[in-house]
Symmetry: C2
């Protein structure tokens, strides 16, 4: 048992002041230092910096770890141009996938305060590195199979990757499944994956309506994806519609991006799914930003995620929050700051089905300490905003162990 006494604690959406936390693998109790010392006389007192905020570690629910090699080979500014650069450079990009780079990336992620990642595993090359990292992870084994002739073989290959990830399951490694997107997964495959997810009680994730090109394609088999598929396969047919896709998804799904969903789709999604929002990725790929006011209007929870280094310059959740503050310039600054902290902790934790994401009794001890430097606060409501603008993560704990 250890006791720590930060100046501030972000707990259940509120800032607590001058309280202490007793923790082992999970958070045992929050109270005054004296009370905790009385209750746990043998607890070790952990020293931390003076002006510290203690909060749950960030839960980054959508990351592509395999594409962690820093590169400028991606074309930014337009989705299809970016996708073409991914396809054209795929041999080189996939050759650069290395355990060393992925491991370095995971260490940087931990250092920046993220204690849980939802990783999209596209090729299964990240499984061992993830297994060996102290980070908590939900591993979304992703399937792509857009063409009828790919349905059976790609599904079988995917099943064997899934099985490998199931063998690695442990307290901090949870297998899950992912449909790449409605434009790239044949309706038959989508149905099979969803059935499997329901049977095995797996979390599921899917990129959905990320670009105008995807919208045009799924609506009318037109637009830039027409050329894309003609070039790739010599024919161009969609193999699902948006309505079919959401009919298939009859279990809660993390819809990634969703910035081109229309109102009637949002209506249907409400109460069933949630949306993972990656503002930096959206801007770099030339996609419009998610309309957060609409999320509120339709009652759709949204969570913040970085996406991968193929469409971001870092995987730092505080950086993602800061950019969100400026990209969503119409959101009220202070309350949005607080909501961004929740969208990066308790909400994604719930979406991933994990008992983390808050400083609260009986929650697992995944937390971080943020140095607020010389900032003093006349009003505790200001702390989330200034944490995002100036905070520096200096200590990360996963399951009660400092990393």
């Amino acid at each position: 048992m250890r006791i720590v006494s930060p100046k501030y604690i972000f707990s259940n959406g509120e800032i607590l002041e001058n309280l202490s936390v007793a923790f082992s693998e999970k958070i045992e109790k929050i109270g005054t230092l004296q009370d905790l010392k009385n209750e746990f006389p043998n607890a070790e007192i952990s020293e931390i910096r003076e002006n510290s905020l203690m909060m749950a570690g960030f839960v980054n629910s959508h990351v592509h770890l395999e594409y962690s090699h820093h590169t400028t080979e991606y074309n930014y500014g337009d989705f299809i141009s970016w996708l073409n650069s991914v396809v054209a450079n795929f041999p080189n990009l996939s050759q650069n996938i290395s355990d060393e780079v992925m491991n370095e990336t995971l260490n940087r992620i931990l250092k920046s305060g993220t204690t849980t990642v939802g990783v999209i595993s596209s090729l299964g090359l990240d499984l061992e590195v993830l297994k060996n990292s102290p980070i908590r992870k939900v591993v979304f084994n992703e399937i792509i199979a857009s063409q009828p002739h790919q349905v059976d073989s790609f599904y079988q290959l995917w099943l064997s990757r899934l099985q490998k990830s199931e063998e690695l399951q442990d307290e901090k490694f949870t297998p899950a499944v992912s449909l790449h997107s409605p434009y790239s997964v044949h309706r038959i495959v989508a149905k099979k994956v969803v059935e499997l997810a329901k049977t095995k009680n797996y979390k599921i994730s899917a990129h959905s309506l990320e670009s105008k090109a995807e919208r045009d394609w799924l609506d009318s088999e037109s637009g830039e994806f027409y050329d894309f598929y003609m070039r790739a396969y010599g024919n161009a047919h969609r193999h699902t519609t948006v309505d079919e896709f959401f009919e298939t998804l009859d279990l809660e799904t993390i819809l990634v991006h969703g910035n081109y969903l229309n109102d009637s789709e949002l209506e249907k999604i409400s109460g069933n799914h949630l949306i993972a929002h990656s503002p930096i990725s959206n801007r770099l790929l030339g996609n419009k930003k998610l309309d957060l006011q609409k999320m509120e209007k339709f009652g759709i929870p949204w969570i913040l995620a970085t996406d991968g280094l193929s469409s971001n310059y870092s995987l730092d959740m505080l950086e993602e929050m800061k950019i969100a503050l400026f990209l969503h310039e119409n959101m009220d600054l202070e309350s949005f700051g607080k909501d961004l902290l929740l969208a990066s902790t308790s909400r994604p934790a719930k979406a991933l089905g994990l008992n983390v994401g808050d400083i609260s009794e009986n929650i697992l001890s995944d937390f971080i300490f943020i140095d607020l430097g010389n900032l003093e606060f006349d009003n505790l409501q200001k702390i989330p905003l200034h944490t995002i603008l100036k905070g520096e993560v200096y200590k990360t704990f996963v399951a009660g162990k400092e990393i």
Copy 2:
């Protein structure tokens, strides 16, 4: 004479590759290393990092140095609420103005690659620190005098501050003048300051139409400024209109912010003035962003500036550019990236009347080196964007001397 051989040079809006630069206090020549060695056989070869971009140092044309004490006493999110927090906390804020803090701030500014600052000196407390810093500076002695009874006395006080700054003039210290804003400077004072600027050939700057509150006040003596002035003086009258203000400004002026200027005002400004844009400050104070498409439409040059730490979390121009990329989400990513570099170098240099802001023969040797890490480029057009997203300034030169 020294010669340096960066991998890339940003010169006159283009990326040059594998050329060298010979420089003393000014840039002597750009050419191949061999040609420069032949022409300047005694030049010393300077070593720099392998994957470096050499470019002009940033010119940050609008900074408040006096308010550099980090604090959360400012209320963010709404302009008048912020202004009230400035007024309410003024005794404490002004007490915290110290040479030490201002000097540290200037050193951080230099380290982040800014070689010239346009400093708004509100109280004259920054003059000595500026004089002793190796940074190049244009010192805008600012006047506030909104009320009729303040006209004479405040002008006299301001004149003596101006005179003090004139005594400090040297090659790197240029005195200049500033009107705080149309809402806070009486028309008589504005006229006198403008006359003086024209006589002495001084650069002039003025916050203008920064907030909706200012717009309402100047248009119709209504809105939040009415209460503000009633509280401060027991009466509330504007002492200039927007039209009067711009009639008075019959010399080129750096209009700071200008985000609430209307089309007919922009029409008049075009060809006469330019606008300094501070995206972070605008967002933190709850003001709408400058419409950059309109700047282009009306042919008004705009330059990037950080404003002071009272409305920013850093004074780092690369950070300001990065935020601009995301706040202005509708601007084309790559070309906007390049334009941001120009808005932070050659355009503000010209606005300040200084022979800096480019890597080009006979320009003063104010330049920086940026480490591009392991980024390799298949296309030189991508360099400005990636410099803003990932570049790290590691060497700063002013007048040919490394700082």
